[in-house]
Amino acid sequence: MARVLINLPAEAKRGEIIEIKTLIAHPMETGYRLGPTGVTIPRDIINRFVCTYNGEEVFRAELFPAIAANPFIAFFTVATESGEIAFSWTDDHGETQTEVRQITVE
């Protein structure tokens, strides 16, 4: 399990624009670098990030090899109702890591 830091307000007013910041530990190996023996280090990046708000997709990003290690993604959404905000990162091995945070909207 990669280490993840997620920052979003625990509470918000209905209709308020909230900022969500995410950081995940990942080497983001480009696939263009050579290892110590001269062999290419295989590409290993997170290629997809999705954020859903109570099941509805509110933000999605496709990532490419020029993105630095430990990608930091920040974005905004509108606080509509209380519930779950889920974040998932998918890497080149097809593995997906999902984290869920709660938000209370008044």
Partner: protein
């Protein structure tokens, strides 16, 4: 005669100005970083060094080695036991008759008390544990002091800091005491205060130790870099910490 005296005083003042940085003029590398880099360090959820601290927290309670003992089994709550530790290192270890830096202490703890293999220099786990321990001292002033036992090592560090080396024939002091704030190609020369180690360096895309940073500088002046854990490297670390005495720990720092 008076002219001569004035000239001597002027020369002495110039030498002092070029020699050491006055305490009031000391500035952390943070102050030389760009606003984006500073913002990254200030926000714990944007600071990638915090990923290392998080990992260190996990390692703290993990039982390791033949002794099946975790750091927490001896040291308990790091928020109390590890506060104010990083500000004292490197310390003199009587049984080795030489100083140990924080990484060295963690590895010594592993071999002595956990019956575990020492972690490799610059390995993710060692950096994470070091960052986690140093993080407990964030905001505290560095208190490393020379004493009779440390004095020979401190003298060595002082001498190395001022010794010209490499094909470029430069000493640390020529950049970091005499020309800080000016530019070396595109980069601003900082004062070389080790206040934020291990730092997350954007160029490295990972955490790195003070020794890695020192090796980087040495490669820069085209000198042979010290091996990790070499007595010279520890002596330099010691000298730099004493030189930065009173400055606040920022671990995990973010640097360009």
């Amino acid at each position: 005669m008076r002219v001569l005296v004035v000239a001597v005083i002027a020369a002495a003042t110039a030498a002092a100005a070029a020699g050491e940085i006055a305490p009031a003029d000391r500035r952390s590398g943070y102050d030389f970083a760009g606003p984006e880099t500073r913002a990254m360090q200030d926000d714990d959820t944007a600071n990638p060094g915090m990923l290392g601290v998080l990992q260190g927290e996990t390692l703290w309670t993990a039982k390791t080695g033949a002794a099946e003992r975790s750091c927490a089994d001896c040291h308990g709550d790091p928020r109390t036991s590890m506060t104010g530790v990083a500000v004292r290192y490197p310390v003199f270890e009587p049984r080795l008759a030489r100083p140990l830096d924080l990484e060295g202490r963690i590895n010594r703890c592993r071999t002595e008390h956990q019956d575990a293999e020492p972690l490799a220099a610059e390995s993710e786990d060692l950096l994470a544990l070091t960052a986690f321990v140093a993080y407990q001292s964030r905001g505290l002033p560095i208190v490393v002091q020379g004493n009779a036992e440390l004095q020979p090592f401190l003298d060595l560090g002082n001498e190395l800091f001022h010794r010209r080396q490499g094909q470029l024939n430069l000493s640390c002091s020529q950049c970091h005491d005499d020309n800080w704030g000016k530019r070396l190609a595109g980069a601003v020369i900082p004062q070389a205060h080790p206040t934020a180690y291990p730092v997350y360096r954007l160029e490295w895309q990972s955490l790195g130790s003070l020794q890695r940073r020192l090796r980087n500088c040495m490669i820069g002046v085209r000198a042979e870099p010290y091996e990790y854990g070499a007595p010279e490297a520890i002596a330099l670390e010691l000298y730099l910490m004493v030189r930065a005495r009173g400055m606040l720990i920022e671990t995990p720092g973010v640097r360009p």
